[in-house]
Symmetry: D4
Subunit: 250 residues, 8 copies
């Protein structure tokens, strides 16, 4: 803004032009931040695919590609994905996670910082893969620790060192969701807990696991929406990026 | 009934007398079962003290003592207990558990069968003691494993052998109630889970722990009402008695 | 562990080998318990079929059969079962209960201990059969008492002796779920109550029966998740096994 | 209205007077019905005492007495009742039911029709007495069957004949509320079910009993609000009055 | 029973025969009541069709017809009904109400007693017709007052006299369910309220109308389960029968 | 009424005729108001299409057209609309909003009063268009401000002047519904908030946005049912009409 | 902004000064709007008294009075109000509504526009008075129509003309909340509905009335939070002000 | 472990001693981790004061001080705190936050990393201060941005730069909780959202804000339990510590 004012003062810019720029500034100010954030951090643009037609998604992809950004579309059902891939064959589709995304460039793991994706059962894999692939699409390294639920807690303990060494954990569990509390008590980094709708009866579509995680007696746990693997990964990547800076060789 | 009919046939009993006895049979049939169950199993009569006045409780105690049974009154607030003890000084009052009960005769632990009372935190002690004292009042041996919640899971593992050797476990936890699942995955005997109302916010007065326990991914867990230490103990004693017979020296 | 240490002390085992064994011990310790429990108790491995593809289930069956264990798969829809039976024709499929399981060896009923499976209405039969067949697959004797709901309570009374003589009852009811309380007041053994989602409107998919059973005014009742016939049977078999030991001829 | 119009036509009534009367008719039309209903049926005016001050209740009583009606005030706490009785010493106060009401004239029981007030436990007595005293204040005969809950179902069976002979039953139960279903299955007259807030934990202040009663598998049961003994009695009296006419000697 | 005992005393009946009869008595005692109730009151046997296969329903119909009773099957979907009518062409199917029932004999309306079936909107017609046809199948006269919801309250007032003259009203409403309160304030006979699941959003599948009706500020209203037109009719018929006796010419 | 009475008094009207007119008055009184309201305000008749068959909707359209009114049918699925348009080809169908309506005459925007339709995301467009088209069908000018949710609040600020200048805003948002509070804090006219069921998990079908809007810390916000774009528009049009009168050139 | 830029261009303002003003503009921009809105509309500043100490409220009053604004404090308990009045004796306290406010100047009712405050029962008076006094404090005329609930609907009809002539109605009802639908069907202006927490049992602290109002089958109704008389009045005043402009003599 | 085995192999350690150490290792393994975590990170020991007596808290403080750790006790009511300070006068008590804690050593703010504590209203201050003081007790720098709720969004924008420069934000809001979404859309660091129970009516004790935050349309938000300021701070400190390492001068 100072620059614009100086131009006006110097007579290099008319009042009308300055007003347009300042108005734009007000508008693009936020937009810039928006862009800045996306560009600087290398976040691809994200499309929430649920409730959008294949055609709508294609238009958005077209618009994003024009900006030169990578694509990440969540909750894209298989049949819609097939249609879209017909037009954008360069996109990869993961059926388990229902994700459609741009091929990632190989990442070099210079400093070893990674996110642990920990899931309780095989039925939680859809959400777990949504989280894992999202994190990878955002440029973080990921280690998967699947099917380590508390009903057979030795499975967790056999993997606990790998989990402990991560910069942040995403813990995914349905049914009673107890895994988040147990992991939270065993690690010293932040845990992002994702309740899933896996289960039946008094599970009430994920309410049970959600309440479990919100009431966790272990500290260091925060929670995202039921089945929101994407959101958990987004949080985890934010933290992992800080950690990567911290760990970076100097 | 056959006996009565034979008496009628033999002319030793009038029709009127037989009808009275058969009617009584119908009525006392159930009542007998009731008495039989209480007497044979050595269960003291149980008074649910909540919502009853000291005076009402005293009258019931009077009536039970006339039958020669022991007393167990649950949820008796301290001030009511003081009044009642004024009249029945032989009764013991446990303030933590809000239980008022007859002094127990020393039990001989011939075969070592016992009930594990496992609780997550110190705030669950009221419910845990209600369960432990109830089980003792019903004649079972009890081992207490308190404050072994999953936030610091080493506390549980340090005690797991003692829990595993019990005939049945009562697991008491508030907040997210994850302890029941973890214990259920580590022992091979039945687990009676008691959610407690300990917690705040999205705990919703015990709903969180209740749902957790009902949705446990570990097998062998059944659940009683929130804060129902008495009911859990009642179930556990039933199982422990079968186990004591099974273990009895022959 | 002592043995391993002695071997190390004696120079018969290298430090590396000892560490591997101790690590394995830590890991297999839990796994052993796991195996021990399954093997000793004759529990077949259980597969939760819901949300798994026929292919996934086949792989797990393959893996379990390699270990020499029996198979019990719950919640397997008819079409998936048909595919799986194509590959494993020796498995039996029960369509009502949606169970797929290994043929059982004939059980000798030496001491007459059995589990009562008590259900309120014909619509509860799916859950009741899941419980009954599970209990049989786990080696217990079962007596079925179906369609004895409280709306016509004489049906229950006509069967009450058979229920009373069981070692444990599984009581299955939807709608208002009152049957569990009535049975609980008439028997002196543990009752495992299973609310079902049978009903409509203010039944709220089983919530009504669930709350009824949790609040039962009869003692000796514990509850499992809505429609969880498997879980109830698992609990009941644990208790019946203790009872069978107790009743065994000596 | 025809009469008024004829008077106008005949010149016996001015247009203004007719309009006043017709306007009054419109207004008093409803009011008359209101009065008619109250007067003809001998219903005393009813005051809902909760949330009203003693002074407000006194003013309403004053107004009702001026009309010559009897008084029935529900949910009047003891201390408020004491104040009001200071001014209206002729009113009777029942502390259990928190009812304040006019002394009833002796009723002659010509045809034996009566309402059965059936309650599950002693803690339900407040609601049961609200129902019983209300029904009596409205002129019906009442038989009380208290403490006949399903946990000891023989208590119910010992009283079932007396319940069956009533014209209508009011069934009052808290906790799991199963009594309504059992009574509904044993009688052939209408059952008005009243859930009470007696209980704790997953009772959720009466929700458990309410859902139980709404989902009853027995036919002939309808339900009123939690703890609404007054409303149940009001319904029952309506039915009992029809039955009294039906039974009346001719 | 007295008769049996006298026969035994007189030597006309053996003890074994008497025991069989008394046992039968105990069993058939309840069954008899059951039959007595159904037969005397002319209630056809009722089949809850939801969740039963066409084949199962056919078997039950076969069994009921053998007893010589009429048929009333509720919640029978159109395709199932078509199959069943193929075998029992004498049955009538009403598609709106999803009822399948025996043709009724013409009823003579000697004393004019009838049930008012009052519904708020055209979307409530399924439930309203279930109630109306059930009441007719049970032998009551019915008057239908449909589409008289409170949004255009003049529709109700235009019909209020017809409603007032009924012996009992069944009031059916979805969305906010206010119609029950308004009718309850305008009539002096019992009102059976049926909340329906008609609506969307914060209606929560009928919860809104259910709560409205339970909390009605008008007296004389009792409530059945959401969409339970059958249950409301069953209650109404019970009351209408008493009224018909009361009104009968003598 | 006075007129009628005078006619009677003057002998120009018989009592019978007067009674018919007064009765009609009572009945048509409400109906007239109804008509008056619809006609005077230019509201087309509205048909709630959900749960009605194409045939039923056609009959209602026929009846409304006979009265000469315009048509507005909400929640008409595409296939039903196609059938109806076959018969009424003059009707317009908007697939996004599922609205079927009469072509509007061009409105002259004399005084510039308009309704702002503000929506948070593209998934809310169905509800937003239901609101916008309804308002237009009722004769109001509408400005659409779509996809201005708070996650990128600059989008809202870029449009805030256009929103501020409206006479009333309809704010439509799903997920967490925060947009209503933010708009409410920035404008000085009434805000009608519409929660939508857009979202998943702990959104609970719109409950989340509903509660958000009811608890808004900004003043001047009132709320309609989840997804009720029609209802919000109806309210907004009522207010906009007052504003149009206020703004009208004089 | 243009002015500032011209000053800069003309050299009358330094860049630094311009930046400060523009920054201030950004900040005060919103603040100005805020002030503008309050000042221009004559809204007194509003203090939400719940959860604030008497001392905190006094400080805020002090600050507001310094700005020369009137005071309106809601939800101020009696004892707190007494303390505050000790310091600000010019403030008026209404105990029923728990409002503390500045004495209003007499309003001239030039054009007769007024808000109808309609309440169902005497227990709703606290909320009704909060609404009425708030509206008066904001400068609107108010007519009170209290105790006109639907249980005795003639009370409403006797007052319907007065309600119909208002510019907007605030309808306040607890228990089942049906009054809003009935009023909404009888008037042609906007209705702001306020559910109250008056009631018990299945009322669930106002949830029942809230759902009723949200699901109203009458159009033209929008809803505010439970017991939020203030918020309803705020909405109503906004609409009434438009109406006053519309009605103003010209 | 390797070290121990080598000592055994070398004969420097007996088998018994090794077993004790390994056993201890197993037990203290977890405990060590626990200690390690607390010590290394400078976390003081935390006591959850709710439901503990002053005496119990004193004992725990005594035990912690013996270990040389600092004290942080949450949810300590004023009267309890007064008693405890009588014995531990060196502890500081903050009445707003109900925190009792050891005096902190001055922190040097070498690299400027800090946590933004952002709250919506003055009523949220208790939770906000619990978070702020906890974070300070754990060694982080904190900037407070209080009373910046969305109803007057300019307050937020005036402070947005300060919030954006934090390493992590804790956003605290009651009522509708919209602030978290707005902040989440404006910053590029993780946001920990804390719903508070501030509000009334359809707020349902914080449920409204909780659901809002879980469903946030802005990415980068995770949620903790209602009113859990402590838990949010714990999470934030974990992240801020990573950031401090990242920012540290090298």
């Amino acid at each position: 803004m100072e620059e614009i004012l100086k131009q006006v003062q110097a007579g290099n810019m008319s009042v009308a032009e300055a007003m347009a720029q300042l108005a734009t500034y007000e508008e693009l100010g936020f937009a810039k931040i928006d862009h800045h954030r996306k560009k600087r951090q290398g976040f691809p643009e994200v499309i929430f695919g649920e409730g959008k037609s294949a055609d709508q998604i294609e238009q958005i992809i077209q618009s994003i590609q024009t900006e030169g950004s990578d694509i990440l579309a969540t909750r894209v059902a298989r049949d819609k994905a097939a249609v879209i891939q017909g037009r954008f064959p360069e996109l990869i589709y993961n059926e388990t996670a229902e994700l459609l995304y741009s091929r990632q460039k190989p990442r070099e793991n210079e400093n070893g910082s990674y996110i642990a994706i920990v899931s309780a059962g095989t039925s939680d894999m859809k959400v777990a893969e949504e989280a894992a692939l999202t994190a990878e699409a955002f440029g973080s390294q990921v280690c998967r620790f699947y099917d380590v639920g508390v009903a057979g807690i030795h499975r967790l303990f056999n993997n606990i060192d790998g989990i402990r060494n991560a910069s942040v954990s995403v813990v995914i569990a349905g049914m009673e969701g107890a895994l988040a509390s147990v992991v939270g008590g065993l690690v010293s980094h932040p845990v992002i807990a994702v309740p899933t709708s896996v289960g039946y009866g008094a599970n009430f579509h994920g309410l049970s696991a959600l309440l479990t995680m919100l009431n966790s007696c272990a500290s260091g746990i925060s929670v995202v929406n039921i089945d929101n693997g994407f959101g958990a990964a987004y949080n985890a990547v934010m933290i992992d990026r800080i950690a990567r800076n911290a760990n970076a060789p100097q």
